[in-house]
Amino acid sequence: MIASKGARPKRSELLIRNWAQNVDQHHIPSEMVLRKISKEDERRRLKAGFHRHKNQLLRKSKQRIGLQSTALRAPEIFRFSTNGDQTIQFLRNLRRVATVQRRSLKRGKWVWPRIDIDLSKIRQISIPAAIVLSAEFQRWSLLKEVQLRPHRIREWDSRVLRLFSDLGTFELLGISKRLEPTSRSFELVLLPLRSGTKNDGQSIAALQEDLRSLGLLFDRRSYIFDGLSEAVSNCIDHAYSLVDVGEAAVPRVGLRWWATSCYDPETESLRFFVFDQGVGISSTLIRQRDWLPLLEPILKGVESVLVKAGLKKPDCEVISAAFEVGRTRTKQSERGKGLDQMAGVVREVGGGYIRVLSGRGDVRIDAKGKSNSRELGFHLGGTLVEWSVPYAALRGPIGDGSEDLDS
């Protein structure tokens, strides 16, 4: 088997020679050195060795063939009021990455991109921001287009863990085990996030009833139910009626609304939230013919000319004007009645506020109808309505069963 002098040795001969050279080093029994390797054997061994080598490299680089992975890190302050632009920018990045890196067909196989959500940097988080982020998780969970995974979850702040645990978001991220925060220094009572695509009066009523069943003693109020129900009706009837060019590529999950409620011990108030992922109140109102003449006197002068010219109006001013129309005009359109009933919640209670984050507008209206507004740097990607009413204003006599509808 030894090649003649000058000729190129065959591969099989080389293998044997290598073995022979390594015998002393590896203490291989001498009888193995002389074993002849067939071509078939040789081919099989080379192929196996190649695959072992390749898999070893892949394990070391932590890559999987065809799987894309992107990490998104949330800012330290995750609140709309004090860090609105960075908070919304994170949400927009999540939508953009998930939309662009949706599942695709590669080499004949479906590839599911993975997005690692890193909330470890968050030191301050608000309930509205947590709700909007949870809704975003649910959107992609329902669409099944990407895999969302929590990243460095052990480093998440206890308040972040508590909020997402109470909202029921961990299940959407594929975490079955409930992660308890290490400290419970606050006693926020936050209900799981509800969602639907239809007007569901019973779900809306549960936003009050579930708080009462947790031991909060207050009389249910019909006007709270009315305001919440009108907000949900707005979602279904108007929020998704247009396609916003800027957000056109982001897929929707039907005419979906999300809602929850909580008792906030810091402000001693009951807070109710309704959110949708539509185009925003301003966009839909401007396009409704019967609204433009109503808004004009309030928007005044040059601003109404801009609207007629189709130029972009500050969302916050349009929203403020719409609530003013709803409050002051007796001959209201159906939508005006709904907006008025939404604002009427705090008016009836005599305290608290209603806050509307819609598009780029952030408007807060108190019980006396006074409004504060500002324009955000980016489009929120939907509408979030929040009612905050003083708990003391709703408390009724203990043991009063007159509010029990089933009695």
Binding site: Q202, S222, S229, S233, E334
Partner: protein, 117 residues
């Protein structure tokens, strides 16, 4: 005041909470259960078209969103009912003080719809 038993034989009493839903919500049927359109078409219109006097009791429900009330009662005018006919043959009973505002709202919506027609 609720009608006496003899009168009820000729009339029809509808309790929204007991006969329809405790959670009225929404305007159109396509938006979900308990809508104003469904209540109007299933309960109000058949009774009114049969020539009966209709008593509608508001008590016991969780609340009445404006879109529900407007579609249920304002929609009667849009469905061809005349305001004068409704004022003679439709009675709305609040049942408790907290529901009086909804009764007033329903009549306001019917008058507005009549003016707009």
């Amino acid at each position: 005041m609720l009608p006496c038993e003899d009168q009820l034989v000729m009339d029809q009493k509808i309790s929204i909470a007991e006969d329809f839903t405790k959670y009225p919500s929404g305007r159109y049927r396509r938006n979900g259960p308990g809508s104003g359109e469904e209540f109007r078409e299933k309960f109000l219109l058949p009774a009114l078209r049969a020539g009966r006097h209709v008593w509608v009791a508001f008590g016991g429900a969780y609340g009445y969103p404006a879109s529900f009330v407007e579609e249920a009662f304002g929609g009667l005018i849009r469905s061809g009912q005349q305001l004068e006919h409704l004022e003679r043959n439709l009675t709305l009973e609040p049942g408790a003080a907290e529901y009086e505002v909804y009764v007033a709202q329903a009549w306001r919506f019917m008058r507005e719809a009549s003016r707009a027609a």
